[in-house]
């Protein structure tokens, strides 16, 4: 557990010093929100209806960008090579990387949700507490599989371009279930409906995490 915390802490300190990831992801996300808002036009009804979709479109693309960059940084600094020499199991390395990525994506989500609540007048702001549950579980699954695939694509020729191509279709179940959960909250369909989608989402998260812990070793081994 201490090792895991140290691994996550290391990545977060690097990020805190440069603030490269959070700044660029946040800006890209904000730009995407502005474009989508303009594209939807002044009708507030349309904006309200589209808000959950807008949140996930923005988060998934900006997060993919961030994950690609995070793993590219590691590749450039050959930080992973150093870590692989330490007597830490590959699964633990995966969990560390996942934890750090998750924190970054959660920060991104907070920025996007707050910006959406401001830009798109509607229900998102009022239901913030309940909406955060499917969003957070969605981020957990998205980064669980994104960490595995990001480590893989950063070692290829296409790098940043390849990650969205392989990550987005695979991460789709998480996005769909998270949207179902958000929809349940916004349409006032009650707690049981929300819990059902959260349960499914949790199950998918666990499957993704298990895949990551199993396969990460094959991805990073030289």
């Amino acid at each position: 557990m201490r090792i895991l915390a140290a691994l996550i802490w290391k990545d977060l300190i690097v990020e805190a010093r440069t603030r490269e990831l959070v700044t660029s992801m946040g800006l890209v996300a904000f730009l995407a929100l502005v474009i989508q808002n303009l594209a939807l036009g002044p009708s507030s009804r349309l904006g309200t209806a589209a808000a959950p979709a807008v949140v996930w479109v923005t988060v998934s693309f900006a997060a993919t960008l961030g994950l690609a960059r995070a793993h590219a940084l590691e590749q450039e600094g050959q930080a992973l090579q150093g870590l692989l020499m330490t007597p830490v199991s590959r699964s633990l390395l995966y969990l560390g990387k996942w934890g750090a990525n998750l924190v970054v994506v959660l920060v991104l989500q907070t920025v996007v949700v707050v910006a959406t609540a401001v830009l798109f007048t509607g229900d998102v702001g009022r239901h913030l507490t309940w909406i955060s549950l499917p969003l957070v579980l969605g981020a957990v699954g998205f980064t669980a599989i994104g960490t595995l695939l990001g480590a893989m694509t950063s070692a290829t020729r296409l790098r940043e371009v390849l990650l969205p191509i392989v990550l987005l279709p695979v991460a789709l179940p998480v996005i769909m279930l998270s949207l179902a959960g958000i929809g349940a909250v916004l349409d006032d369909r009650g707690l049981t409906e929300l819990l059902r989608s959260l349960k499914l989402l949790g199950a998918v998260d666990i499957i993704f995490a298990m895949l990551g812990m199993w396969l990460f070793a094959y991805v990073v081994e030289e």
Binding site: L149, M152, V166, P169, L172, M176, A184, L215, Y218
Partner: protein, 226 residues
Amino acid sequence: MLRSRDTVLAWITGAMMLIALYGAFVFAPPERVMGDIQRIFYVHLPLAWIGFVAFAHACWAGIWYLRTARREWDEAGVAAAEIGVLFSTLVIVTGSLWARPVWGTWWTWDPQLVTYLILWLIYVGYLVLRGAAGEDVRRARFAAVFAIVGFVDVPLVWLSARYLRALSPVIFTSRSVGLAPSMAWTLAAGLVAWSLFYWTLFRARLRIGLLETEVAALAGDGEVHG
């Protein structure tokens, strides 16, 4: 030895394909509601099943590659995935051709369709990944990992697409229709024919892959010694 066996297999496949076509166009009666349009199902359904089997095959090859690190499994994986992409492309095309006159639309976001589309996207991604992965061992490892992830993802996509759709009104329900015996036989013949076709293509693609590796190894040797 290998070649002659493949030739026999190809001949059997060809004959079976003719039987399946005869069944689809002549033997099976026109469907009561959809008429002749329904005949595309005798191609569409077998393609969909075999396409799915091909991706399962690629996943299986991926697991064995990771366990044994033997080249043959990598070549088997890419052969299965390539044919799977080909078949699933045809599934989507034939499905659209059928849906246009019957549903009045080329495409609808029905869970089955979404699942197949995502399946297709995942394995197209697999082929792009292979193209970009660089040196051989790493490419094989990455491809194996992604084939496994992609295939495990399929039931999850289906489940979540169904869940998301269940919340909004479903326009088209299941398209399973009771089959007359002659129709069932035609479908079975199609299934056998397309399975054989898959196996023939797979063996041919596998042989090409192994030959390519051999050639590359020989060329590499030449450079080292020369």
